[in-house]
């Protein structure tokens, strides 16, 4: 085949041992160097490090390479990193192919290192065969609507909407509930500002309403999504409030009294009842109450008092909206203990932390539950969390802080109560540690248990009897009674399978939405144009929620604000010589990507690149095999298969081959010594005496981080060693290994 790449650079990553502990990198390197088209092979401690990237760029420029293979971790982590490296070196980014030898090799086969090495060779060979055939491609630009849909109008969703709107993006803010604020509106005072949650909600709501480019829909549920990044189309079902605007407060009170239909109030976690006409709380927003038509029996009593404003015949609506990007800010659910878990729903006075927060809010100056005055409160921590054998293995991080803050709040509001905390170790990290001090100063008592010896809660004469083996008093068995037991429960993923099905958003084993990469791409999903933020992604406090919200908003805005999105040129391509227009591809394509064109006196199919998503579903149905997906042609796939199958011949033990192998190792070592200039300067510096990292950095006039990186490489290759001695500033000293 013509135009095959013939000067390919291959870069094999040790990943600091994640790969090289299981894959014999030197063997791989020696075998790969023999592959057709390979001009050079380099091993690197971390190919993704800044200094390694600079080395690769220099390699490409100096050797005029026409192809590059990076064999390292999953391309989901660093494909973009190395495409950028290629671009910086003047190499077309599609002449770089990534070989995943970590997730799909060294880690998966850490139990069979020889076979892992064999597999790494085959994987890299397949990547080389693909890069040899790679075309020079340019990205496809498609128009994007500068409108975002934000799903969920809790504090995260409202903050997202405000941020996007201020950056010039139009926003549809979709809230399933009839009131905004989500979970935060349910909490009382928030640490450390002591501002009530509903005030925070109120401020954000007014900011949302002030912005003309935000449209808020409440009682709105997304039913279907079509299209893709840049041009999503969403079907939204809207349930009306059945009330037109606010009426006089006194009349509102009369209407609420007249309504006789009742149900457990979800907002108060079932502690109270609400009517069919309701507001979550008096200052809930939007201000207009709502009629719950599932509960209303249309008795008409409310109409007699407030005729005209209550209109029970309002119709549900289905609307269609278009957007370039979607942000999911759908929040979390508090863990609901199972019946009998620490006496929940079996012992009368056992409630969850979230219920306790609502109880504090709804009580006046005395703390009363089920008609009984509360004095002694036991808090049992980590309920439904950190359960190694259960569903929720995670720690929600916020619950220790929230429980202690609530306990301090309760004691401040109701002077004579006593708090007993039964914990698995307190995690009031960062500035929240001051809360623990406050709690201790006010006289709260702490016990500690471990996973193997869980506390129990039993009913004893109308009170709760708590038994705990206390690690803080040398495992003494302690028993005490409490008027109220508060189960400190963490966060779990919302049960919104509907949204998961509609958006196809991946979920993790913890059931929370899954980002592309926990550290490097924490708010993007594998679905282009779909972002996640806040508690729907993982347990977060409000501060962490806001950080992820702002990140997701910025990513969404930067994607669509220019009105154009650069897409991968990985689309279907028709060979007009082979095409005889039968229409099979056109009939199958759901994106209308095919059009009829005339070619040398016959009608053939042509792909509209902006419409084509590159799925390739059309390729197997073509009777003349005229369609391929770019970079996934028959030749490319079949040569990759051949590369997997071809035998790997490792160095044998003949004297001659041993000598060859040794020579290659020596060559390799020479490259390590010569290629990274800083490594050589460090070695020169250590010739005189053992030195610490800061001293070397100062002497060479470089950053200590760079010295550290090169020292790690040199130590890995056995060229330097630790002296086990420290200098007067307590830094370890390194010396040459002779």
């Amino acid at each position: 085949m013509e135009n095959q790449k013939s000067k390919i650079g291959v870069y094999i990553c040790h990943c600091g041992g994640n790969i090289s502990d299981y894959v014999d990198i030197e063997k791989v390197k020696n075998l790969i160097a023999r592959e057709e088209g390979v001009h050079l092979v380099n091993n690197m401690m971390f190919t993704c490090s800044d200094s390694a990237q600079v080395d690769i760029v220099n390699d490409i420029k100096e050797n005029n390479l026409d192809g590059m293979v990076v064999a390292s971790c999953s391309p989901k982590l660093h494909l973009l990193t190395f495409r950028d490296v290629a671009k910086r070196a003047g190499l077309n980014q599609y002449n770089y192919i990534h070989a995943n030898i970590r997730e799909q090799c060294s880690w998966a086969h850490s139990d069979k290192t020889e076979l892992a090495t064999d597999k790494a060779v085959r994987i890299i060979r397949a990547a080389i065969s693909k890069v040899r055939l790679s075309e020079t491609l340019e990205q496809i630009e498609i128009p994007a609507i500068n409108t975002a849909v934000v799903v969920g109008a809790g504090v995260s969703g409202m903050r997202s909407a405000i941020e996007l709107a201020d950056q010039g993006t139009n926003v549809y803010l979709i809230e399933k509930d009839h009131f905004v604020g989500g979970r935060v509106s349910q909490w009382g005072k928030l640490f450390p500002t002591e501002e009530p949650g509903e005030n925070l909600v109120e401020r954000l709501y007014h900011k949302v309403k002030e912005r003309e480019n935000i449209t808020l829909f409440t009682g709105a549920e997304i039913k279907a999504v079509n299209g893709s990044v840049g041009n999503f189309e969403l079907d939204v079902h809207i349930t009306p409030r059945y009330i037109n605007g606010m009426c006089d407060e006194a009349i509102q009170d009369q209407v609420l009294k007249a309504c006789h239909a009742e149900v457990d109030d979800e907002f108060n976690f079932g502690l109270t009842k609400r009517k069919a006409i309701y507001k979550n709380y008096p200052n809930a927003y939007p201000e207009t109450p709502v009629v719950d038509m599932d509960l209303c029996d249309k008795c008409g009593e409310c109409l007699k008092i407030c005729d005209g404003r209550i209109t029970l015949d309002q119709k549900e609506e289905n609307i269609s909206i278009k957007a370039g990007a979607i942000l999911l800010n759908t929040g979390f659910d508090p863990y609901e203990p199972k019946e009998g878990e620490y006496g929940y729903k079996q012992v009368d006075n056992v409630i969850t932390l979230q219920q306790f927060k609502r109880l504090i809010e709804s009580n006046g100056d005395k703390l009363v539950y089920n008609g009984k005055k509360i004095r002694d409160i036991a808090y049992i921590y980590c309920v439904g969390s950190r359960d190694a054998k259960g569903e929720n293995k995670h720690c929600s991080r916020y619950c220790c802080t929230s429980a202690i803050h609530t306990a301090v709040d309760a004691k401040t509001k109701f002077k004579n109560i006593r708090n007993y905390h039964v914990t698995r170790g307190i995690r009031t990290y960062g500035k929240q540690e001051t809360l623990f001090t406050d709690s201790s100063r006010q006289g709260d008592t702490y016990f500690q248990f471990f996973e193997g010896a869980m506390p129990t809660v039993e009913n004893e004469n109308g009170k709760a009897l708590i038994k705990v083996k206390d690690a803080l008093t040398q495992n003494e068995d302690i028993e005490f009674t409490a008027d109220l037991v508060v189960l400190v429960t963490g966060m779990v993923a919302r049960k919104d399978e509907n949204l998961v099905n509609i958006f196809k958003v991946p979920v993790g084993s913890d059931k929370f939405y899954n980002e592309i990469h926990n550290k490097l791409r924490p708010v993007e999903t594998v679905i282009e144009g779909l972002f996640i933020a806040g508690g729907c992604q993982s347990p977060k406090n409000i501060r962490a929620t806001m950080a992820s919200t702002l990140a997701a908003s910025a990513k969404a805005n930067s994607l669509i604000q220019s009105g154009m999105i650069a897409l991968e040129p990985i689309v279907a391509k028709v060979n007009p010589e082979l095409c005889e227009w039968c229409g099979a591809c056109d009939d199958l394509c759901t994106y209308n990507a095919f059009e009829k064109v005339e070619y040398e006196g016959k009608t053939v199919a042509k792909v509209n690149e902006a419409m084509c998503k590159g799925c390739g579903a059309c390729t197997p149905v073509c009777p003349t095999n005229a369609i391929d997906v770019v970079s996934l042609s028959d030749t490319e796939i079949e040569t990759m298969i051949d590369s997997f199958v071809r035998d790997v011949e490792f160095a044998t033990t003949t004297t001659e081959e041993k000598a060859d192998s040794f020579a290659e190792v020596v060559d390799f070592e020479k490259q390590v010594r010569v290629l990274p200039e800083l490594s050589q300067r460090i070695l020169d510096s250590l010739e005189t005496e053992p030195k610490a990292i800061p001293d070397i950095a100062k002497e060479l006039g470089v950053a200590a981080d760079d010295v550290l990186y090169h020292l790690m490489s040199l130590r890995k290759y056995g060229m330097i060693k630790d002296t086990d001695e420290i200098n007067e500033d307590e830094y370890y000293l390194y010396e040459l290994k002779k």
Binding site: S74, K76, N100, R102, E103, Q104, C105, S106, W107, A108, H109, S110, D111, K112, L115, A116, D118, K119, R122, I123, A126, N501, K504, P506, V507, G508, S509, N514, V526, I527, I570, L588, T590, K613, G614, C615, G616, A617, T619, P620, V621, N625, V629, L632, D634, I637, E638, M640, I641, D642, F644, V645
Partner: protein, 141 residues
């Protein structure tokens, strides 16, 4: 059970089933090192000739890790992939190649355990069938 170690070619999809294979590695869940993966945009693009090429080249079995209903491109992705498999199997039948050398299952992006289980059971099936080379050699050769 046979000691034969079969080679398996997996066709996965970039956004859904390939992340599941990555996750299996991340969780250090082990399967046969003779499993090789080619990542596509969507498994509905698998051509029958690729399956046949793999088998002729010495791959003992082809596993298609379809997206099922999770496919970001099309809800009928598994049905379309099935059609390609059926076409490949028509040729396999003519050549006397055991049809169970091609298998498809839907994997979601976190289906690390199902992937590993599929690889283990498919390896066992193929080990019992023996090398594809013998099969092609006996029946086609």
């Amino acid at each position: 059970m046979s000691d034969y170690q079969p080679k398996i070619l997996v066709f996965s999809s970039e956004k859904i089933s390939d992340p599941a294979i990555d996750l299996a590695g991340l969780l250090k869940k082990h399967y046969s090192p003779l499993v090789y993966n080619i990542t596509l945009q969507c498994t509905s693009s698998v051509k029958p000739r690729w399956i046949l090429h793999a088998l002729r080249s010495g791959i003992d079995g082809v596993f298609i890790a379809s997206d099922g209903t999770d496919c970001a491109y099309r809800s009928d992705c598994s049905d379309l992939t099935n059609k390609s498999i059926a076409k490949a199997q028509e040729v396999m039948k003519e050549k006397g190649i055991d049809l169970s050398r091609v298998k498809m299952a839907a994997l979601c992006s976190v289906c690390a355990d199902p992937f590993v289980n599929h690889m283990k059971s498919f390896s066992e099936t193929l080990a019992n069938l023996g090398s594809i080379k013998n099969e092609i050699g006996q029946k086609d050769g």
